[in-house]
């Protein structure tokens, strides 16, 4: 390993320069005016991968190309891992809020500022540099690696899903490493081992055939907005639990080990309360805020619409009232089943004075890799050695749909080894990537492969 680590130490400033070259390319996947730039970025990436000794290829898709790059393959003879990343970036607007232009990377205070710096160019570039160190020092990785770097992550990854299915055999692997999540601080390198799932629903309560004059009719006709309020209000009890029979039936419980790990996370209750800006926190009784927002299921109203919303008052009984609802799910909960249970309860709550319409929305299952498993433990070791701090175990409250696809199509688990700091401004002006995270991340990657190869 020493030659690899030495190589990484020696070439730090060149790596930073190369990263800046990569960041200079405005690969905004959502804006068609940038389609040419997106393709040029894929080309740059292929060329770069080849220059460090990888076998790279640009794959045409229905939209933006996918780049793959592999170390020499030994199919069936040694483990094969994927590294996933995306070279496309979020739109940079509003431009006037950037201190330096989004596509003119600038290094200041130990970080590189540019659109895509942390999401996700910088993060997967760290992995490329680790592999470069192995290849350039003729050090054996102990396993085969394939980078899969797409250009549509910010617009839904549709082509990647099709690509995974098509290249299922070639991409057969023992695990996927993804650096596209976060770490609480530079002193808290992190392994994210679980993601919540989600399920969406929109309900409408239909009352009178038109908005009615509340003077002429009010009192003799049920009010859809009031009915909706009563129905929604009944979906949560005083202890902050979702009051839908069966909702918690399949919920995977937190282990004592996980709860102990969560206690190590920074940000106490007061800090967290100030961060979100509420007078008092609220959540399911018996759980910390870290647990509530990452390891427990929820029911949220995302939107309410009814009647008159303009200035002043309009004295009507509205014809209808609607709500957008999503539930965050934890491992073992099935989005379709949760929607069925919720729908059943809503029908039970709905009085005969109105009609209830339910429209199911998208769903995604939760994701969970046991943090006590050997892959996770190898990752924690690599994090510890490269960052010099005891890593934390994270559960993420949101879902990353592509992780479910990897599991579904390739049957492999993902290690989420995110290098983004909380103040990295993902999707916002002045996005940055900390250079310590970049170099420590490259080292972490270098230390990881031999460990994974030995499992």
């Amino acid at each position: 390993m020493q030659p690899v680590l030495d190589y990484l130490a020696t070439h730090r400033s060149r790596f930073e320069e190369e990263l800046c070259q990569y960041l200079r390319l405005p690969s905004v996947s959502a804006q068609s005016s940038h389609n040419k730039d997106v393709r040029a970025t894929a080309d740059w990436l292929v060329k770069h991968c080849r220059s460090i000794g990888l076998k790279a290829k640009k794959h045409a898709t229905d939209f933006h190309p996918i780049v793959t790059a592999s170390t020499p393959r030994h199919p069936g003879k040694r483990p094969h891992f994927l590294v996933y990343g995306h070279y496309d970036v979020q739109p940079p607007e509003p431009l006037e809020e950037w201190n330096t232009p989004p596509f003119e990377p600038t290094i200041r205070n130990g970080a590189v500022y540019a659109r895509g710096a942390t999401d996700n160019k910088g993060q997967h570039f760290a992995h490329l540099k680790a592999v470069e160190a192995f290849l350039k020092t003729d050090t054996d990785l102990g396993c085969d690696l394939t980078f899969v770097i797409e250009g549509e992550e910010e617009v839904g990854s549709e082509s990647l899903v099709a690509f995974l299915r098509k290249k299922k055999r070639e991409l057969k692997c023992d695990g996927i490493v993804v650096s596209d999540t976060g770490m609480p601080s530079k002193k808290h390198p992190a392994l994210t081992y679980a993601l919540r799932g989600v399920t969406a629903m929109e309900i409408t309560v239909w009352g009178p055939k038109a908005d009615l004059h509340s003077g002429i009719y009010g009192g003799s006709v049920d009010n859809p907005a009031l009915v909706l309020s009563q129905m929604l209000g009944s979906l949560r009890d005083k202890k902050g639990r979702v009051a839908v029979p069966g909702f918690y039936g399949k919920v995977q419980k937190l282990t004592a080990y996980e709860r102990k790990q969560m206690k190590r996370l920074p940000i106490n209750e007061t800090q967290y309360r100030k961060l979100v800006g509420v007078p008092k926190l609220f959540g399911e009784a018996g759980y910390t805020h870290h647990e509530q927002r990452s390891a427990r299921p929820t029911l949220e109203i995302n939107g309410l619409t009814s009647g008159y919303q303009g200035e002043g008052s309009k004295t009507i009984v509205p014809s209808w009232a609607s709500a957008k609802i999503t539930c965050r799910l934890v491992p073992n909960q099935d989005p379709r089943q949760v929607n069925r249970l919720l729908g059943k309860q809503l029908k039970k709550l709905c009085p005969p004075t109105v009609k209830l319409e339910i429209v199911d929305g998208h769903g995604a299952e939760a994701y969970h890799v046991p943090p006590t498993g050997s892959m996770s433990q190898a990752a924690l070791e690599a994090l510890r050695e490269s960052f010099g701090h005891e890593p934390v175990l994270l559960r993420e409250g949101g879902s990353i749909p592509i992780i479910n696809e990897f599991k579904k199509v390739l049957g492999a688990d993902s290690l989420l080894l995110g290098l983004a700091l909380p103040d990295d401004n993902l999707h916002s002006p002045n996005e940055k990537f900390d250079l310590d995270c970049f170099h420590n991340g490259a080292e972490m990657s270098a230390r990881l492969w031999p460990k994974l190869a030995e499992l």
Copy 2:
């Protein structure tokens, strides 16, 4: 009386022609392009009043002129009554939905079709024709009459309120007759003896300082839309009663006489349910739909707003949620006190996890003239004799602000003797006024004055 009734019978077709002349004038008070027409209409009205023997005057105001027209006055010597009406009309749009142009009055199927036919030119014109009959036949009215016909009813009557205060002495009277309400059918001439009041409020529940990602934060922060739903849902009990302590404290109860009268109203529950288009009616237990919507107080949500309202889903914990609320009030309820009680209850219901903002809106007291009083009984007699059917007693669910002003400024009660039928299309295309209602209305007016004079 006979010469008066004969005169009314003889001149029916001329009265209809004159009404058509009046309706031809496009006195749309809301559209400044019609300001000239509004003034021309006032001038036409003054001229017409003079032609039938009244002393008429056009009064300039800050906006549209007011017309007054009086029979010879005998101040202090005999009773003085006002007849209120308005010569301004609603905008006629959408024009393409009219079968014949709104300002080209057309008589078909025994009704005159034109904008303003029933609201309100036709209705007060019937009273003018009754007075004409007295004056042209030299029959003594037994009382003095002053018509007050304004040009801003459809835009808020602001000038009239100032005018009443200014002319308080001149307009001192024993009662006001207003034909600007409705009757259930030609077989159900009606006296409206009560109007509900109203009070408005807008509340906002403030949660996190910005919309939060429901994956990252959901579960550990209260959801303002859910809190609002729970608060609003608690404002009504299962029996349809408003669950605000003290809300019913001062409510004037319905008398046995009133309830008996209400039972005579046409439109049964099934017909009413179909009219409003709901699967099942709902209202305060123990009251009929007529009672619920005219004689009982209510609490309605007029609008709900929170979070994401666009297409599809957006996984957020919304930063705030708001509701527009109005209460319909009945006699003896004070709008300010009701708002205080409601605000107190909302504060009690609001958890410490959010902030509650309450903004009070407009309020108006309910109106009530005892239907067993002598003025009401005189009006019922006049209705019975002229329409040939037993009149019904109506309470109206909405409020007519000017009626409260008459009471407040002049200290006089109003008799609401509306001549509009349910299908007269007030404020809609193809507005009409039934000619039977017109002529019977004129006869009712003629029969009314001697009765009122004798009280």
